[in-house]
């Protein structure tokens, strides 16, 4: 929107900092610099009660690094990821992102159009649940982002989608079936395939392995390792602390110390 509606109660800051000035203040070399990030939900149905989700979170992520977020349930680990993705509007703080083509920008305040462009070309998000699309089969669901974002033809995209689904152990007979009817674990693997298929340079992982068995987790971990070899940077939340320690380079604790 060019003009903010007068009644908008959004907490989104209006100023869009010039790319250059931001670049100077971000730590040299880091891909993401998160400073004093806070998010408070305001629930109007409950008389405007305020629920603080995260408060003054700061950390950095280097290019190619895999940073895990840990903390007790409800500490706001997912909230951090969703603020980076702009699915949540941060209440205060900054998220400096060194983009591939636009210099360093603050994801908290950069224009919506820029965010959409980053989501199309640079930043991927793997949620816990698959969002199915009516009448689209598993293979086509995974092929879609490959085709649209990497500009390859339908046949190539479908081949790549098939090999990705193979790797994740989805039986071939399910390729053209609608994922709405799949088991939770199968849906989650299709979801991962769709989210990483176009190889985003920054990948946000929100409990992507929560309902997978051990073999599937291993396949996913191997896939993540390959994405990293190709240069991807990752920030993730995992329900299993052992897995978190094993696959990440570094763990950042969110919320109060135990």
């Amino acid at each position: 929107m060019t003009t903010a509606p007068t009644t908008q109660t959004s907490v989104q800051p209006t100023a869009v900092p010039a790319s250059n000035s931001v670049a100077e203040t971000s730590s040299r070399g880091s891909m993401l610099t998160i400073r004093n990030l806070s998010k408070t939900f305001r629930l109007h149905m409950l008389g405007g009660v305020e629920l603080p989700a995260i408060s003054e979170v700061s950390f950095e992520v280097l290019p190619g690094e895999f940073v895990g977020l840990s903390g007790p349930s409800g500490a706001g680990k997912s909230t951090v990821l969703k603020c980076i993705h702009r699915t949540y509007l941060a209440t205060s703080g900054e998220i400096l992102y060194r983009s591939a083509h636009r210099g360093t920008v603050d994801l908290v305040s950069v224009a919506e159009g820029e965010i959409l462009e980053f989501r199309r070309t640079e930043i991927g998000f793997v949620s816990q649940f698959l969002r199915v699309i009516p009448r689209v089969g598993a293979q086509d669901l995974v092929a879609e982002p490959i085709r649209l974002r990497l500009g390859v033809d339908l046949e190539t995209a479908r081949l790549r989608a098939a090999s990705l689904l193979d790797r994740l152990g989805i039986p071939r007979k399910l390729f053209s079936a609608y994922p709405a009817t799949f088991s939770g674990g199968e849906q989650q693997r299709v979801n991962i395939a769709r989210a990483v298929a176009w190889e985003p340079r920054l990948l946000l992982l929100d409990e992507p392995t929560a309902s997978l068995d051990k073999r599937s987790v291993d396949a996913v971990v191997e896939l993540f390792a390959q994405l990293r070899e190709n240069g991807a940077t990752m920030v993730g939340v995992f329900h299993d602390p052992e897995l978190l320690e094993r696959i990440t380079d570094r763990v950042v604790r969110i919320g109060a110390e135990p």
Binding site: P5, T6, Q8, M45, K82, G113, L116, P134, R135, V136
Partner: protein, 291 residues
């Protein structure tokens, strides 16, 4: 993506208006009707921007002004105030007086004469209404419905029009054997597909969808939405999608505006509107959704 359409301060008032109107209508007042003079403010000070190949969702309850907004954009109804501009489009180059020399944007289209507005609309927009009888002539053959639109866009060869019509109806999955039947013989889902064929006949860059899948059976709705997704990508359409169904908005739209009592109460990225709604009304809307 480049902006394609921008509108500023669009307002539609039915009635004389009075000094007390502005304070006693709108989202905070909880009504769009002025208790003093009886004027209805169907749309009040709405601004928006539509980018190329983007889908913008407009959600809100009945009476929120979302359908009025689309009708204003389509020149079905004159705006009381506000302006509407289109980026320089090759489809509009032939219409005199639209662009000032060297300008990337058109002059205000709301202040142009009806004739020009109609030509701009036929060349740049297609619309699909919730009620097929608004967009179709129920007694005229389906092919004729599409041809009618082509005629008003300047087509003259009957053979070419018939060919174009059959191509579009095929694309929208209407069996060619039924091309000569009037839409009143068709099911609701088929009627919507004929409307889509008609809306796309002039090859417009902008498609306006007003509750396009409301009232259809789920399987029929899925088919219509799937078709819209495919056509959008193939034809590189920009869309304004009006719906009270958050699922439809989530499926189709990158950005969303929320309207209440004629006003925009909130706008943002669609996933942000759905997962972190800021306004009390949007929070209520999201919390009321069936999972």
């Amino acid at each position: 993506m480049e902006a394609l359409l921008r509108a500023h301060g669009i307002t539609r008032r039915y009635g004389p208006g009075c000094a007390l109107c502005l304070d006693s209508t709108g989202a905070d007042a909880g009504t769009n009707r002025c208790p003093t003079c009886g004027s209805v403010w169907a749309c009040r000070d709405v601004s928006l921007e539509l980018r190329a190949e983007e889908a913008l969702g407009i959600v809100g309850e009945s009476g929120s002004g979302k359908s009025t907004l689309v009708k204003l954009l389509h020149f079905d109804d004159p705006a009381t105030s506000g302006y509407l501009e289109l980026a320089r489009l090759r489809q509009l180059e032939g219409i005199g007086g639209i662009y000032a020399d060297g300008c990337d944007w058109s002059r205000d289209l709301f202040s142009m004469d009806r004739y020009r507005q109609r030509r701009v609309r036929d060349a740049s927009m297609g619309i699909v209404y919730q009620h097929p009888h608004l967009g179709l002539r129920m007694g005229v053959s389906s092919g004729g419905n599409v041809a009618e639109r082509l005629l008003s866009a300047g087509w003259r060869s009957i053979g070419a029009m018939r060919q174009r019509a059959s191509h579009l109806l095929e694309r929208t999955e209407i069996p060619l054997s039924r091309m000569d039947e009037p839409p009143r013989n068709f099911s609701g889902g088929m009627q919507q597909r004929v409307q889509i064929a008609k809306a796309l006949s002039g090859d417009p860059p902008i498609l306006l969808l007003d509750e396009v899948s409301t009232g259809l059976d789920l399987s029929v709705q899925a088919r219509v939405l799937d078709m819209i997704r495919t056509l959008r990508e193939e034809l590189r359409l920009s869309m304004v999608v009006v719906s009270h169904d958050l699922g439809v908005i989530h499926l189709l739209c990158q950005r969303t505006m929320v309207m209440k009592n004629g006003q925009v109460v909130e706008s943002g990225l669609t996933d942000q509107i759905l997962q972190d709604p800021q306004h009390g009304y949007t929070q209520l809307l999201v919390a009321s959704q069936l999972q």
